[in-house]
Amino acid sequence: MPDLDPLIHAPARLQLVTTLTAVAEAEFSTLREALQVSDSVLSKHVSALVSAGYVRSRKGTHEGRRTTWVGLTDVGRRALHEHVAALRELIDVVD
């Protein structure tokens, strides 16, 4: 079996890092709506991925209120690339 990255294998985390490939950074509530998860779930996943160095976050403002902006790091981008390649390899083996 190809090497799958346990840090981004959970569907919500894979969706989070994949979504971040489309932007340089996204505001927290925008991400939450795209991923259709609660604040606490998103916050938990962002914290875990920040700790792993896959994602960066910073405090900022949006529409006059304080919020968190989240972006993918180069490490996270590479990890996603390798994880997706491993998943595709798995699919190809069976097909």
Binding site: L14, T21, L87
Partner: protein, 187 residues
């Protein structure tokens, strides 16, 4: 979390990849360009090209002032458009920054170079109507390049999202400012 990390083979892999693409699609299909972005960008670039061409042909302090004023108009409009995009959508896309501020991409670059070259030549020849025409053509082509990038981005966001970071932009602005200082000192 345990159930999320369990893996049930290729069908599960397909489902996870599809769900991830869907989530990214939910974000990108909801993105909107600020109202009037293309006309505003075309107008700002036309003003910048026209004032730069006349300013260069003038070869005086007044000309330099005109050139800088046109550049200021362009930078103000570009900054406002990027700020509006971020405010409307809650995201920053570096690819858009590159297209709007630097005109990266073949269509924008070619339109700008031809427009600027034509306007400058016309200004030295005092053909003012041609200066205006070349500036407008350059601006329209530049905005068209931004439009092409937007269509490409919507079709394949991951490939087209990356561009020039704010840090690189700041460095380029510094280099441009130093260039102007050198021009003023030497001139």
């Amino acid at each position: 979390m345990e159930s999320e990390t369990r893996f049930d083979g290729p069908d599960d892999a397909r489902a996870r990849l599809a769900a991830a693409d869907l989530a990214r699609g939910r974000l990108t299909t909801g993105l909107k360009l600020p109202r009037g972005l293309h006309p505003a960008l075309a107008g700002a670039v036309a003003v910048q090209i026209g004032t730069a061409a006349v300013g260069i042909a003038e070869q005086s302090a007044l000309g330099l002032g005109l050139l800088l004023a046109g550049l200021g108009v362009f930078l103000a409009v570009a900054t406002w458009l990027l700020h509006r995009f971020r405010r409307i959508n809650g995201v920053r896309v570096d690819g858009l920054t590159g297209r709007v501020v630097l005109g990266t991409g073949t269509t924008s670059s070619v339109a700008y170079v031809w427009g600027f070259g034509g306007a400058t030549w016309a200004a030295f020849d005092s053909q003012w109507w041609l200066v205006g025409l070349a500036a407008v053509m350059g601006g329209v082509g530049y905005a068209l390049g931004a439009r092409q990038w937007w269509d490409a981005y919507r079709a394949d966001p991951a490939t087209h999202a990356r561009g020039v970071s704010p840090q690189v932009l700041a460095m380029l602005a510094l280099v441009a400012a130093l260039g102007f200082v050198v021009l003023m000192v030497v001139g």
